[in-house]
């Protein structure tokens, strides 16, 4: 029987719902993680290779057993290839998400995507211009169609560079050109990465990792950036707005529908259906006060950013939310959806619905959404959720919800600053704000739930470092109360003054995981305003509790873009000290940034503060010493 020595989460709802799950006999991610121990050291170190069937092979890290695979690949090659495939998978995931949005954009243009529309015409025009699509005297739908076609070109092999690479500062683009890192096509780089890692192709570990960086950039400045920008066009550019977070957003007197997964293509339609008058009336007929839509994970973040819709939890909360017994339906699309959810839901009355042709799960009813039928399907599934309300058993919603503010797109941040990045730059120059850290990424049972995110955030803002966050981190810090204006009191004197003056919290919610590109756009704007490269800025990144392949790709595109990035858990690279040294030190001479690994967020805070003060010094600004 799994017996955690201490609480598993820094959050109240996490602990209380875990206790409920145990009481209800529900198996969670923590029990399954425990059952996996000890996890195989060959795999943990990146030293097992399953790429071909002359294998499977492993390299003995102690030097006595086999030192190469059957094909002759040594530890450096095996470790590099494994990491490269993680990056390819992460890039593919985000880029497919972008692809689905481009399809909807094309469907809006030709009228086949019923219920979807252009919400931000100005952004549509701006983006079209970037893609070389003339916009003068052209109707928005025509522009949309041509923009969609141009974006599809970004996915292929006809271009020298993915279009939005042009947004990066000139000096950064020059670095990419110098090392052959400029991404040529979104699908192309992933495809080449898979090719290079086939047996007997790229057997130079540095060459493999350079392609991995190029692949990650095809995601960061390609697939993910398209995802975010097209989402803004179709669903609106986020603006700051209040919201609520944690399990307390579930209501015991309303129909609770939870959306999980990533693409707003699905969650936006569900949101629309939840406002359908006939369905709200049906809910009331069933005895509910109304229909309460909440999110978990990134699709929840998309709805929070644009509509202020509440967030029930992040990655490690997705099973626990169900153990409230209050969820009438969970609707999922793709990515980060644990295949255990159907089994957990079966212990309660919760109906589980899968919607993507790409993502089917055990014990879920499949209702496939496509651009032409999503609006209709959403109404169908929401109706089913409403009808399920009467089947509720005992409900335990163990906390009251926490207020938070989200919606900080780059446009919103610049708006809050008065239209230009100048006030932020002045604050950084004056040392009131030392710099900024983007804290991103997931949860992982290897790290106490949200402990890494909350601890790191607190230490950074205490030291006048502005924090921006996305994904699971954004939920963690919102739950911890960092995203209300009063949280400025937790910040150091410099940051506090700025926050109070602008009426913003010290931690800015910038969106979902594809929205990490908003951070790229922001640092580009700051670098351009100062005429420097991103790697000169007093900024850094961190993923204190990451778990997914997508996170490896995001971390890599941040580093490749010049942002030194800290990781909590160690990636599977310790089998090759050459790879470890390149990633944690050697990359400085290539892209001007590196990775660092440190599970303890207190120590990570010291590292990040030192990194930022070091950048300040190099810019000729005042710099503090950090002990």
């Amino acid at each position: 029987m799994f017996d955690p020595r201490e609480s598993l989460s820094v959050t109240q709802d996490g602990d209380r719902l875990f206790a409920k799950a145990q009481q209800d006999g529900v198996e969670t991610v923590w029990e399954r993680h425990e059952a996996q121990q000890p996890q195989c050291g060959f795999c943990d170190m990146g030293l097992s290779c399953r790429i071909c069937i002359m294998g499977p092979c492993r390299v003995d890290p102690f030097g006595e057993g086999p030192q190469t695979g059957v094909c002759g690949a040594d530890a450096d090659i095996i470790v590099a290839r494994n990491l490269c495939r993680m990056i390819a998978a992460g890039a593919a995931s985000h880029s497919d998400h972008g692809r689905d949005l481009v399809e909807v954009l094309a469907g809006v243009a030709d009228g086949s995507a019923i219920g979807y529309k252009i919400r931000d015409e100005a952004k549509l025009r701006r983006l079209a211009e970037e893609y070389g699509v003339a916009t003068e005297d052209k109707k928005p739908l025509v522009i949309a169609g041509e923009l969609a076609q141009a974006m599809m070109e970004d996915y292929g092999m006809r271009q020298k560079a993915v279009k939005m690479v042009a947004r990066a500062p000139k000096k950064r683009r020059a670095v990419w050109e110098k090392f052959g890192l400029t991404p040529r096509g979104i699908d192309r780089e992933t495809s080449e990465m898979m090719h290079r890692t086939h047996m007997g192709v790229d057997n130079n570990w540095q060459s493999l990792l350079l392609q991995a960086m190029r692949n990650s950039l095809s995601d960061g400045w390609g697939g993910s950036m398209i995802a975010t920008e097209v989402s803004d066009i179709l669903f609106g550019v986020p603006t700051p707005r209040p919201t609520t977070v944690n399990a307390g957003v579930l209501k015991d007197d309303q129909v609770n529908i939870v959306v999980h997964g990533h693409n707003p293509v699905v969650s936006e339609m569900v949101s629309k259906a939840c406002q359908d008058k006939a369905l709200v009336d049906l809910a009331k007929e069933k005895g509910a006060g109304g229909i309460n839509l909440v999110g978990v994970c990134c699709t929840g973040n998309e709805l929070l950013m644009r509509r202020g819709i509440a967030m029930a939890g992040n990655h490690l909360m997705t099973e626990l939310i169900l153990s409230t017994g209050a969820v009438d339906m969970m609707i999922v699309d793709y990515q980060c959806i644990m295949p255990s959810l159907g089994k957990v839901a079966a212990c309660y009355h919760t109906r589980m619905v899968s919607t993507s042709d790409k993502a089917k799960f055990p014990h879920m009813a499949h209702h496939e959404f496509h651009p032409h039928n999503a609006e209709k399907k959403a109404v169908e599934v929401v109706r089913s959720a409403v009808e399920n309300y009467v089947n509720r058993g005992k409900v335990l919603i163990p906390v009251t919800s926490q207020e938070a503010v989200g919606g900080f797109s780059v446009e919103a941040i610049l708006g809050a600053l008065g239209g230009t990045p100048e006030p932020l730059i002045e604050a950084i120059k004056a040392g009131k704000i030392r710099g900024a850290v983007g804290i991103v990424g997931c949860n992982n049972p290897k790290i106490k739930h949200d402990y890494g995110h909350v601890t790191l955030t607190r230490r950074l803002i205490e030291n006048d470092i502005l924090v921006v966050d996305t994904g699971c981190v954004a939920v963690a810090t919102a739950k911890a109360g960092f995203k209300v204006p009063a949280a400025a009191d937790m910040a150091g004197p410099g940051l506090k003054a700025i926050c109070n003056a602008l009426g913003i919290p010290p931690v800015l919610h910038m969106g979902s995981c594809v929205d990490n590109v908003r951070i790229l756009v922001l640092v580009s704007a700051l670098a351009d305003a100062l005429g420097i490269d991103i790697s000169d800025l007093p900024v850094a990144g961190s993923a204190p509790e990451w778990y997914s392949e997508k996170a490896v790709t995001i971390g890599t595109y941040f580093v490749a873009s010049g942002v030194t990035t800290h990781l909590g858990p160690m990636p599977p690279i310790t089998g090759s000290m050459n790879v470890v040294n390149l990633l944690t030190s050697g990359l400085k001479d290539v892209v001007g940034a590196t990775f660092a690994v440190e599970p303890d967020p207190e120590k990570a805070a010291v590292f990040l503060r030192r990194t930022i003060e070091g950048k300040r010094k190099a810019l000729g600004l005042d710099a503090r010493s950090v002990d």
């Binding site: 020595r5 000890p38 195989c40 060959f42 170190m45 890290p61 290897k446 106490k448 160690m570 310790t574």
Partner: protein, 199 residues
Amino acid sequence: MKQVVVHPERCVGCMQCMLACATAHSRSLTLFAAVQETPQPKPRIHVGAGRFNEGFPNRCRHCDPAPCQMACLAGAIYRRDSVDTVMINPDRCINCASCAMACPYGVIRFHEDPLGPSGHAIAVKCDNCSARVAKGQTPACVEICKAGALTYEEMDAAMRRKTRAVAHSMSTDADPSAIPAGVALLKSIKQSELQLSGS
């Protein structure tokens, strides 16, 4: 006489010893076919997780005197001195589990076994791969371990090696890194993670 020697610091927790052991005690003697057998063969070596989630291959120590042998009322447990092995006779075992109560190491399991009477669970433990050794092979767990956690050698030879390593580490200018850098790095990260979560 050679015996299986365990080097716990080398165990990476891959559990291949368990697979090889079960396969070696099957009827078909290949992994894929062994998994399909009824009853399924089971490993007699068991990898457990340490405090820092490192692996440890737990096998029968073939004690002398053996607590399990002394506890067995049915007289099913005996020692074959020629191969320094404590054996369980599957035909005399009455499945009372007195041996497991006496065993300080938890290496005895109870199940119907391909090499035992059909339809009847019995006590099962490591037999030092006596059948393989009689054919001139090494024990299955040793053969498959690629990290050097299980070796087949004279205990004295293993201890002499260890003495040499310890003596080397005492010299001035000794290389302090007895374990490879990557292994040490991963170990320290895992320990840090576990300590942070209160273990």
